[in-house]
């Protein structure tokens, strides 16, 4: 299965590069003065958050595509992106509190962004649960597409919520227009990490897609 092998290679390279990110972030990037070493969690937390959300948007787009084309490959991609997105979301939800405890003094706060990530996670879990609860592949794909589109449409509202309420959460630091406040070496570490997480997303999705293909093939064989 060539796409499976490709996916495995990409993932292997990504994991190797991840080790590189670890070394760079932990040993070769300056310590942030006010937050200390814990701030370095930022280098894994934020790229994961970006992909957790992007994966959901991709699920939404794929879902729209699916309803128009009824192409099972599109549905397979949506399922893959959802699963990988859930993993990244879990990373954000766990590293967030670990970063928050030393900095804000509390493991959890109903801060807008943490809340956002929590229910991004709930959207993902709902999507995956629905998929597992529907036996017929056609209905499963259609239903998942409906939930996927609704989920993706909710994301802008959630974003509005985040910016409407002042919060404990560090305000966007990397993409602030006109005033990038992240010093050079920190920025490059962050960008490196973002690249690696992108590669991880691709590798994981390709593998999951291949597994989906294999399983559907098996289901088809079993029916005969």
């Amino acid at each position: 299965m060539t796409s499976l092998r490709a996916g495995r290679w990409i993932t292997a390279v990504a994991l190797l590069l991840l080790a590189g990110v670890y070394v760079r972030a932990l040993a070769y990037t300056p310590i942030e003065a006010s937050q200390g070493l814990a701030q370095k969690i930022f280098y894994v937390h934020v790229p994961a958050a970006i992909w957790a959300e992007t994966a959901m948007i991709l699920v939404g787009l794929a879902s729209v595509f699916y309803l128009f084309t009824k192409d099972p490959r599109v549905d397979r991609f949506a399922a893959s992106s959802a699963e990988v997105g859930t993993i990244f979301c879990a990373i954000v939800l766990t590293t967030g509190p670990i970063w928050g405890k030393p900095i804000w003094g509390t493991w959890w706060s109903w801060d807008a962004r943490l809340t956002f990530t929590l229910f991004l996670f709930l959207l993902y879990v709902g999507y995956l649960l629905l998929r597992s609860a529907v036996a017929d592949p056609g209905a499963r794909a259609r239903f998942a597409a409906v939930v996927g589109i609704c989920g993706a449409c909710e994301v802008p509202f959630i974003h509005l919520s985040v910016y409407m309420f002042p919060t404990l959460h560090p305000m966007p630091i990397v993409l602030q227009p006109g005033r990038p406040r992240l010093p050079g070496s920190m920025l490059s570490t962050w960008l490196f990490s973002l690249g690696v997480f992108t590669l991880l997303y691709v590798g994981f999705v390709v593998q999951r897609y291949a597994i989906g293909q294999l399983r559907e093939h098996q289901e088809g064989m079993a029916e005969r």
Binding site: M1, L4, G7, R8, T11, L15, L18, Y22, L26, I31, E32, A33, S34, Q35, G36, L37, A38, K40, I41, V44, H45, A48, I87, A90, I91, T94, T95, I98, W99, K101, P102, L200, F204, Q207, R208, A210, I211, L214, R215, Q218
Partner: protein
């Protein structure tokens, strides 16, 4: 005015280590899960 040195950064490396270990564990765990599931699907 005498120069006052800025306070040293707080000692919280434990959290950093915990987070990085956790992220590694999750990613490697998921890689393993994908590997095993693919193997199960490839087995006739």
């Amino acid at each position: 005015m005498p120069q006052v040195p800025p306070p040293p950064p707080p000692q919280n490396s434990g959290y950093m280590v915990a987070a990085y270990v956790l992220v590694g564990a999750i990613l490697i765990g998921y890689t393993l899960s994908l590997y095993l599931r693919a193997r199960r699907s490839l087995r006739p």
